[in-house]
Structure formats: structure tokens, C-alpha cells
Symmetry: D2
């Protein structure tokens, strides 16, 4: 592929924001500038493409953002871009701004958008940003490690009070389609049981697990419930309190706290490596791919494959979590 003519690249963040998007933007911008490219930042994801809301970025524009949560470019879930009309506007704006190649940072939906651009002949490289870690084609997405640490800290706090005052706690984590966060949180924070979209569990099974903990003499029980599990956390808590399981049960809904916070060292490193690699791959002519982490390496995966497949929680870890709770 011929791409020696790349002079201007644009970068956008799209979908749910994830901690680490800022270090990723910084890496894209500074790497591109070090190679004498012009860099354009698109505001609020595909919305900025459709509406032509973009600006030149200099090295200084990304100073001091390495440690900032969220994304300085803003993000959105753009409805217009799902339709032909919006896509046409976007392509027109890309050409008008003289953009030769695009870097798109975001989740599954964002990669679907990137595919649309590629099909219209735009050179595009995607980067995985998602706290849920539900994307095909990468071991870890930008933001997942920070979210894991946030959940872990919250559960560590619950255990302080639990060990003083015998209680069961139900904690709702994000994860509408994928139980990754919930299962891993169970492993690193120590849960009696984890409820995820991938596995059906009845209230009776949960009640039995909590009661078993009580009988074994544990001072508390932690149940983690992914947002997409068959029972919601509040409902489960009410039902447990109607049954006699030994402990009284309380609920915590972490909500969007899981999206925030300064990016962890792992996320800053992953985001930085991906951002640098995106520019290098663009200069090497790559397009219609997402870059992912494969072991220690950054490798390209076809966007078609990324959007066709979904990643699920590893059920080996699900079992490991239960074994270690005993």
C-alpha cells in the first residue's frame, strides 16, 4: 500500500470514556509531530466528524494530560453517524480538513464506525478503549486496569467494615455483556460468588453460598454482580434480606465511578504504546485494522474480525475465584 503521502492525521475518542484515553491521545500527537506530521483533534467522537468540529493540536496541547482521567477531546455515542447522511458529512469533512489518516480510540461500536470509514477509502487504525475489556483482538483494553483497581479499592473498604460488623455485601460492577470485570474483581478482591451474564445463577444458589460462609465462621461475604447478570444487585439484596442467610445484606452500586480516576501505570503504558504504534502503522500503510495487545506485543487485527466477535469472561477464573474463597 502506498502511504508515503501521509501528511496529516486526525485522532478521536468515541463511545464510553476510559481512563488512559488521554495518555493515548498524547502519544499519538507527540509521535506524529516527531515525524513532522500535522495532527488534528476531532471533538466528541464521530459527532465532531459529522459536524466538522476539529482543531490543530500542538505538543503543548497535550501537556499535563498524562495523568488526567476521561478524554480531553470529549466523546459521545453518535446517532447521526449510524446513518448514510451523517457518514457522508463525516467523509466530506475529513477530505475538507485534508486528513490523510485517522486514529479512532474506543470500544466495539467505535470500531464499527472505523470500519465504515475504511470502506469509504479512509486510512484508519483503531485502538481499543473500554473498561469492560469485552473487545475481541486484544488481551487488555485501555481503561480496564484502572477500573479493576477502582473496584478493588471499593471492595477493600467494604471488607474493613464487614470484618467489624458481620454483614454480606452485594456490589454491582459494570459489564453489560461481559463478566470480565466482575470475575477479575472476584479474584483480586476476594468474593464468595460472582454473577455474570455468561452464567446463570439462581438466588437460592447465592443464598446457599452466603449461608455456607456464615457457617464456616467467616465474618462477612462479598457477592459481585455484573450489570448484565440475570439478577440485578438491588433485587438480589432485597431477596437475600427476605431469606435467612445468617448475615444481613447491604448493596453498593459503583456506577460511573468505575470510568473515572487517574489512569493506572499499566493503562498509561498500554495507551502510550498503542498511540505510538498507531502512528507507526499508519506510516507503514496499515488500514482497516485495530491494534491490540497480544502477550507482550502490539499486533494488528482486521477490523472485520474485531466487530464480528465478542470476548467473554474466562470461566477458568470464575472457578478459581470460588476455589480461593474457601
Amino acid at each position: 500500500m502506498e502511504s508515503l503521502h501521509v501528511e496529516t492525521i486526525a485522532v478521536l475518542t468515541s463511545g464510553g470514556d476510559a481512563p488512559g484515553m488521554n495518555p493515548c491521545i498524547r502519544a499519538v500527537v507527540r509521535t506524529a509531530l516527531s515525524k513532522s506530521l500535522r495532527v488534528i483533534g476531532v471533538r466528541e467522537g464521530y459527532t465532531g466528524l459529522v459536524q466538522g468540529d476539529m482543531q490543530n493540536l500542538q505538543a503543548r496541547d497535550v501537556g499535563g494530560i498524562l495523568q488526567a482521567g476521561g478524554t480531553v477531546l470529549g466523546t459521545s455515542r453518535c446517532m447521526e453517524f449510524l446513518e448514510k447522511k451523517g457518514q457522508r458529512e463525516a467523509i466530506r469533512n475529513i477530505h475538507e480538513a485534508g486528513i490523510d489518516a485517522m486514529v479512532v480510540i474506543g470500544g466495539d461500536g467505535s470500531m464499527r464506525g472505523a470500519r465504515v470509514l475504511a470502506e469509504e477509502g479512509i486510512q484508519v487504525v483503531g485502538l481499543p478503549g473500554s473498561i469492560d475489556n469485552d473487545m475481541w483482538g486484544t488481551n487488555m483494553s485501555i481503561g480496564t486496569d484502572t477500573a479493576m483497581n477502582t473496584i478493588q479499592d471499593a471492595i477493600d473498604k467494604l471488607r474493613d467494615t464487614a470484618s467489624s460488623h458481620r454483614r454480606a455485601f452485594v456490589v454491582e460492577t459494570m459489564g453489560r455483556n461481559c463478566g470480565y470485570l466482575a470475575v477479575m474483581a472476584g479474584l483480586v478482591a476476594g468474593a464468595e460468588m460472582v454473577l455474570i451474564p455468561e452464567e446463570d445463577v439462581s438466588v437460592e444458589e447465592v443464598a446457599a453460598a452466603v449461608e455456607a460462609s456464615y457457617i464456616r465462621g467467616k465474618t462477612h461475604a462479598i457477592i459481585i454482580v455484573a450489570e448484565g447478570a440475570s439478577i440485578r444487585a438491588t433485587t438480589l439484596t432485597e431477596k437475600l434480606n427476605q431469606m435467612d442467610v445468617g448475615f444481613k445484606t447491604r448493596v453498593t452500586i459503583l456506577g460511573h465511578i468505575q470510568r473515572g480516576g487517574r489512569p493506572s501505570a499499566f493503562d498509561r503504558l498500554l495507551a502510550t504504546r498503542l498511540g505510538v504504534a498507531a502512528v507507526e502503522h499508519i506510516l507503514d500503510g496499515a488500514t482497516d485494522v485495530m491494534l491490540g495487545l497480544d502477550g507482550r506485543l502490539i499486533v494488528p487485527v482486521q477490523l472485520a474480525e474485531v466487530v464480528a466477535k465478542t470476548r467473554q469472561a474466562n470461566l477458568d477464573y470464575y472457578e478459581m475465584c470460588r476455589m480461593l474463597a474457601h
Copy 2:
């Protein structure tokens, strides 16, 4: 009052646990030992008194607990002690163990229990432990500062994602009878509006405030709802999402996270000062009092006064919060 005969003191933590109870226990134990007293730790609050569950404490038993959340003595809300029969058992166990004076760390209900002991002729000094800061007789209770920092950190994280992705967030804090935590959180974390038990606010007023923020061009709105407010956080969120207020609204229920965590510097200092002072006051013959923070000083307040009055949120701060949100 004659008290030169104090040779043995006991300490217990009761009611909802609060970060800082451990440094307080440590200060009581080490101060008492430095004055050649014997110290007894009572397990799980008044339950331990009723059941005679206690043990001698040495300097080493409170090593390494300065930084630990919760309470190593355990705590409970003891039903038996509310009745004459339980109280009789408790008094009997106090005498049998040779306890000359008691230190009771806890909230309003715990001070009511301390009054019972005082009325039965036991020398007792109470110390305020409550994350809600709803106790009469002290500017600050043990645990409130840590809880404030926990809430603040959570809202800081929400603002990261809010500023990237225009949203309103409803955050439920503790505070069944007292809006202190909610109002102060509003001030230090920056909320558009705070709903507390002390003030009635309608859903329409909240909706108007959120919409006004949207119109002023703010990228987000934060609404803090104390547990005891007239509307619950989840209900408010549902109603806001049914109305058109500009932003989409999401809910976070912090729950017992607010009770956990390593005690902050302020709480360790307050807890330590109170613990040291409790032993000194006991040796000076004080009884039937709670020690509180009055400005910079630790001063005794009659238990009768503490349990008769309730502290409410300062509405000046409530107004200050609204003024500063603009």
C-alpha cells in the same frame, strides 16, 4: 469525686463502625498501660458486656492497628442491652471482671448505653464515633473526616467521566437523620444541589437546577442525596430520566464504602487525642460524660445532654454550596 482506686479500665466500640476506632483503642490502651493500669477489651460492643466476652490487652495487642479501618474489637447493635435483663448481666460481668471504669466509643445509641451504665454507678466516659457527624457535643466525630474524603474521591472520579461525556450524576451518601455528610460533600466536591433530611426539595426543583446547569453550558451536573432525604436516589434518577433536563442521569449508591478505608490523618489525630484524654479524665474522676472536640479543645459534655439533643446540618453551608456551584 474519689477515683484514686481505678486500677482496671475496659474499652468497647459499639454501633456502626467508623474509621479511627482502632487508633482510638490503641491510644486508650497505651495511655492506660503507661499509667500502670490494667486494660480489658470488650468484644462486639454491649454484646460482649452482656455475654462476658472480654480479654486483657497489652501494648503489643494494639500494634499495627493505627492504620487499619474498622475496629479490632468488633462492634454490634445489641438488642439484649436495651432490656433490663441484659443490662443486669452486663453490670454483673463488669464487676466480675474487676473493671473500675469504662470507655465507650460509638454513636448516639452507644451513648444511651453509656448512660445506663452511669446510672448503675459504673464510672464511664464516652467518645464520639460516627461517620455521619450527627452527634451533639462535638464539632467532629471519629470517622467523619475519612468518610468525607471517600465521598469526595468518588465524586472526583465521576467528574472525570462527566466532563468527557455530558451527564448528570445522582450520588447517594449516608445520613439517615442528618445531612452533614451530604452538604459538606457538596461543598468540597462541587455539587449543583444537595438533598438532605432537614430540607424538603421537589423533583421539579432538582430538574430545574440540572437544566439550568445544562443551559449555562456546564458539561455535567452532580446531585448529592442523603439516605434520609424525602426522595431516594434511585427514584430521583428514574424521574429525571423521564423528564427532559438536557443531561442523561446516572446513579451511584456509595453504601458501606463510606464506613471503610484507612483512617485519615485528621481522624487518627482526633481519635488519639480523645483516647488519651479519656484515660486522663477517668483518672481525674470524670463520669457520665462524653468527650467532644470544641474548637481546638477536648471538653466533657454530660451524657444526658448528648443523648437529648441531635445535631443537624448547618444550613449556611447548604446555601454556600449552591452559591459556589454557579
Copy 3:
């Protein structure tokens, strides 16, 4: 005093930066705007006054700074302002900008500067910002609580490794003239010994204390050394390692880490209250005063008194720390 004519106030931060200066600036700006005043921000302390480097501030300019460490206005230790010539330029710039009154946030040196302005007839209110808490006229300065928590977290980490691997640790904290931070850190983080400017201690005494801990069977010893103590931390560490005190000794120099970090809840609240009160006091005609925290109240103190006196560490706490280490 006649001050109904105040229409424009200016705010500056000066001297060593302290966490909480940003919430203080925010409170000054938003309170002033709510009273229909014009607000000017002066850049880099007195340097900005001397050089006329200032700008109008709107409500939005202080959005999102509540949680930020440092000061968005910048700060400096300004040499020119120590001389007549620089002062003359500053006064001239104040008049030229139409400034009716000034809010100066900073430490001792900054209050000396504020006195100069007052003597030249400028209405000025000072606010105490100093992590060292060495200022006369206030119980707590903006930034001290955050610094205390930073030091505490660092020592908590040292104890983790100390309890696994028998060692003594020497930790150097800030405090050139005042041992407040070191003594309080000793209390809240649990130190065997604290070395401060106010008290002379010999290496032999430290060695004896460390050895005594070793003999008592403690797994570690923590020695806190204020910057201004008669022995420096590195020297002390070398000497201890040349002697036989049971433990091997390692040094940590916290340095400017103590100035950074997001302001704690206490500092945000103190800074906010002081900022609001500064504007109110200005409108009431106050000048040549610093506002300080006296118990729960914000009260004015004459600048002449503030700069004439110095606050020292409370030696009662120094003794309390030693007693509790046993």
C-alpha cells in the same frame, strides 16, 4: 471604614504552593461574582503585581480546579517586591487596573508583602496557605492537612515492608523552622522518635531509642526528621548504620511530594470557607488583617501580629508521640 465603593477585587497566591490554593481561588472568584464584583487574577504572586501580569476571571475560569493540586494562578518568591522600586511598580499597577481590594493567599513572607500593600493604603485581606502550619493567627493553614495525609501514606507504606523485613527507617519531612508536620506525622503514623528544630536531640539518644525498640521485640523503628532539625536525615542514617542498633537503617526524603496532590476534604472546606469570608470581610471594610481558623470560627488577626510572631510545634504532642510508641 468606607468601602461601599469596592467594585473590583484581585487575588494572588504567593510563596510555597499548598494544596487547597485552587479551591480558595475558586471561592474568592465565585463569591465576588455572586456579589456583582469584578475579579482579577494576578499571575505568579507579587511578581505579577510588579510586572502587571493579570487577567479578568469569570466563573468558568475556576471550573474544574476544586480538585487540582498547586495553584492555577502560579506562585513565586518575588525578590523585586522586597525593594522600594518593585513595590512602587506594584502599587501603580494596582491603581491602573482599577483594583479596590486585594486577597493574598500564602505564608509568612506573603503576609509581610500584604502588610506593605496595607501601609500604602491598599485594602488587603490575607489568607494562610502553608503546608508547614507555622503561621501565627490560625489553627490550621491551607495545605497542612493534605501534606499530613501524604506523609502518613508514605510511612504506612514503609511499615508494610518494615514488618516483613526488620529495619529502621529515617523519614525526612518538610519544616525548616517548625516541627508541626514532623510531630503530627509521628502521632498519626506512629514513630519511635521525632527530631524537630524546637528540640535538640543527639545521635546517641536516637540510637538508644532504636535499640530499645529492637530489644522490646518490635519489627521496625520509624524516626521522623524535620528538615530544620539539628541533624539531617541522611547524616543520621549514616551514623546509625555505623553504630550497632539492632536494625539496619534506610532513609527516605519525601521532598516536594509533600506539596503536591489533590487537596483533602478538610483543605477544600477550609480553603472554601476562607475564600468566601475574605470577600465578605472586604465588603465589610476589613483591611490589614489575615483571616484564620480559631476553633470552628473564621476570625481576623492584625497582619502586624501575624508577621511578628511565629508558631511552634506543640511539645505536648511531642511527648504524647513518645508515650504511644511504647
Copy 4:
């Protein structure tokens, strides 16, 4: 290899402690118990083997340690085990305690000790624990991720104050033989320059880099110096302050803070996976190997290879860091 006869395994932690050793011990113990093995904990590394200081461990003994820094088994650098006499005692104690296989968690030196055991016919599996990440045979060692986050947080704090008050900061990190931590900290926290054992840099080069930052208009400069670099951090700071580089320079020596703190989510997960795998490999007959992380997989490497080779910092990241600082 025949190993169906494994009934009792022992676990020890040795060398410098690392956050995550506790979750690793927990995983070894609970996995072994779930397979009906007996588990013995050896105190203070090889010292406990030589002196026969060990105890049976039950599921409850490792409750509540998932989130604790350090190692509950204690650790040491054991001199006696370097000599034949000590080794003989250790082997004798292993046989006397009926230990069939050993899990050794630690760094390079600890793996050398494990080799000795293997040569004497003891079944042994090593696990990498080292904050320096200087071990051959694994992508990441237990403790490195937590240490990285600790360093990152410290530098984030320095930048707060730096951006308010123009300064250069020199930060000393651990890393006597390996610049991994320093280079990665440079990438994730944003340093102008990194000094590591693997690369010689002169004071003049550092001065030039700092001055260049000053001239480019940066408000601060961060220089990270690994403990084993050719210049020490304090010396470098003194020299920079004697030269005219635009900024004044201050030093921070992080010291053992880097070893402490609650283990991060990454470290808890890695430690847990390694602990589970160690027991499984032992039951499969593996010996004389260390288990390491290779991409996503846990794989065995011969101990002979692990101790023969040393890992160095990746110089690609060293260059990436410099490129991104501009």
C-alpha cells in the same frame, strides 16, 4: 517424574519483600488445601529453613491478607544458607517436617537458593517476586506493577507543585542493576530524562536537557535516576544547582516506600495465578523450574537459566520516553 506421593508442600518468601507476596501465599495455601495437601509456612525465608522455624497453615491463616503489603511469612537475606553447613541444616529440617515439595517466592538470590534445594533432590518450584522486574524468565514479577504505581503517584504530586512554581525535580527510584522501573516511570509519569545503570549519561547532558525544557517554555523538568546509575540523585542535584540550567533543582529519594503499599489489581492477579499454578505444577511433577509470565501464559523456565541470565531495561522504551517528553 513420579510425584503422586506429594502430601505436604511448604512455602517461603525470601529476599526483598514485594507487594503481592501475600496474595501469592494465599493462593498456594488454598489451592493446596483444595487438593487435600498439608501446607507448611516457613518463617523469614531460608532462615526459617535453616532454623526449622515453620508452622502448619490453614485456610483461615491466610484470610484477610489478600490486600496486605509485605509478607506475613516474613523474609530475610540469609547468610547461613550460602554455606554448606546452613544448607545441610535446611535439608535436614525439610525432611524432618515431612515436606515433599517447596514453593519459593523471591528474586534472583532466592532462585539461586532454590537451585541448591533442587540439586539436593528436593522438589522445588520458584515464583518471581521483585519490584525491580530484573529477573530472567518472566515478563513481570510480583510487586513491579504496584511499585510502578507508587512511583507514578509520587511524580504526579511533584508535577502539581512544579507547574505552580517553576522547578526541576530529581527523583531516585530503586533499581541497582536494572533500569526497568526508572525507564517505565519515565514513560508513565513523563520525565525529561532517565538515568539507568545500562546507559552512561554525563551531568552536562542532563543539564542540557533541563535547560532545553526551560527554553521550550516548560514549567518544570523531571529527571528520574535509578539507584544504580553512574551518578547518584543527590550528587546530580547539587551539581545542577551549581550550574545555570534555568530551573532550581530539588531532590526526592523515594526509598523503601516503593516496596510498600497494598498490592495493585495486576499484582494480586499475577500473584494468584502463579500461586495456583505452582501447586498444579508440583502435582504434575515439575521441579527445578521457576514459573514466569510469558505473554498471557504461565510457563516454566529452568532455574539454571533464570539464575544465569539477567534482564535489562528495554532501551526502546528509553528512546520512546525522550521522544514523548518533547
